[in-house]
């Protein structure tokens, strides 16, 4: 089978599409636990902006560096290269609950990638990797541009919060769509710098302690709608 390689922009649309069968719908990106902890729904916009300043640079930086590691290295050491990037991601993700959901989403995406791009190094890697590392590996396989990769990670992060908000709180669906655009615009000045990252050590390490504490509380919530 030949590699399926449409334009980078088309791949970005594919990876950002909630209809993609990779299991992304199971996460609210911490919104559910934030609301249960007392955050007013109207603060979801600010919540998205905080994520753009903290967790999104970590995720996007990891994806870009994983993409670079595969693009720069040979096939032989691709597994070790991705594992090294993933280990830097894990050190920047102190919440086990956040690592668990990111690896579950990474597994879903890797499953899809194995079918779509069986010759890709990602198809041969058995170890559980985070979603950020897997999406970076897909970008390397498909020739997706680093800037598009950063924007997909950011858009997906905010859109997951917006979609979850509509399930958790009744409001005009157009309102959180506007917040998603605001959040993506908030990251835009940093996109070029994030897209230029190459070294694992240079991946941003920005933390958000309150979100991490909420994430740890989430698995103990009764009657929750989302897995994280």
């Amino acid at each position: 089978m030949t590699l399926r390689l449409p334009d980078s922009g088309t791949l970005a649309l594919l990876l950002a599409d909630s209809r993609l069968p990779s299991g992304g719908h199971v996460t609210s990106n911490g919104l559910e636990s934030a609301l249960r902890a007392g955050m007013p729904p109207a603060c979801a916009r600010e919540y998205m902006l905080t994520r753009m300043e903290t967790m999104v640079p970590v995720e996007a930086g990891t994806a870009v560096v994983a993409r670079h590691a595969l693009a720069a290295g040979g096939d032989a050491d691709s597994g070790a290269a991705l594992a090294a990037v993933d280990s830097e991601w894990a050190a920047r993700t102190p919440s086990a609950a956040q690592r668990d959901i990111a690896r579950a989403l990474g597994a879903g995406l890797a499953r899809l990638a194995r079918t779509l791009w069986p010759r890709s190094p990602i198809a041969r890697i058995g170890a559980p990797l985070s979603r950020a590392t897997v999406i970076g590996a897909i970008a390397a396989t498909t020739g997706m541009r680093a800037g598009d990769l950063v924007r997909v990670v950011a858009y997906d992060d905010a859109q997951a919060v917006a979609a979850a908000l509509l399930k958790l709180e009744p409001l005009d669906p157009a309102i959180p769509v506007g917040w998603v655009l605001d959040a993506c615009a908030h990251l835009e000045p940093r996109v070029d710098a994030l897209a230029a990252l190459t070294r694992p050590h240079a991946i941003p390490a920005s933390g958000a302690p309150q979100i991490e504490m909420w994430a740890e509380a989430h698995p103990t919530l009764p009657r929750r709608l989302f897995r994280a």
Binding site: T50, E53, S87, A91, R92, A96, G207, A208, M213, E216
Partner: protein, 265 residues
Amino acid sequence: MHIAVETRNGRAHVDLRAGLLVPRLVTAGEDLASVAVIAGGALLLDGDHVEVRVRVASGCLLEIEDIGGTVAYGSTGTPSSWTVDIDVAEGGCLIWHTLPFVVADAADVTRTTTIRLGRGAVALVRETLVLGRTGERGGRLRACTDVTGTGGPLLREELVLDGAARRIGVLGDARVLDSAMSFGRRRNAASGALQLDRPGTIVRALGAHTHAATVEEAWHGWAADDLGRPRGDALRSPGPDGPNRDRPGMAARSQRGGGPATRAS
């Protein structure tokens, strides 16, 4: 300031050098030392750069206790920094009892903590960050923590806090972030603790005041556990119930009990 402990001829040899902070030897034993740290003058003023180096040699235990917290003052807007560089060699253990680090209005501080751990080494570090003195909103603080073990990175974290621009999800409305951090050894902790991917545990409390937002209980439990543990235990046995726990000689060492604990519990 420089603090280093190693064993020479069966005794702990402690090397202390003062800077803006001044170390004082409290006790020293065969392979352990206890050091108190006091400020050499008013700290932390605009433009001050505090540098601390801590070296714990293989198999040694170093306990450091801060005497008096730190206020980072701000007036001219000149940034200040607080840089801590820690090496704990194979089987060594560092326990650092810190006091609150208060970032006053208009202060602009960068705190950098770098820790390198050898095989089986443990670093137990407390960090209590406070935005503003009573009645203040607090200044700007960038707190970077970088911890690496022999197997790879344990924690890389950068917290950007600004008392004038509190963020939902970072500290929320809280003024205080208290953290008990164990690197190199995973702790049993209540749900809500951050269990790192590699061996290590962080327990955090967020709140309005240091007396309410505190991790004191977890901290003292961990410190007591490490002080009562034979040195190099992590090298010799997989855990507290490992087969070497009862080896002759080890029991006698552990009977030093609380060791040179200087902090009343």
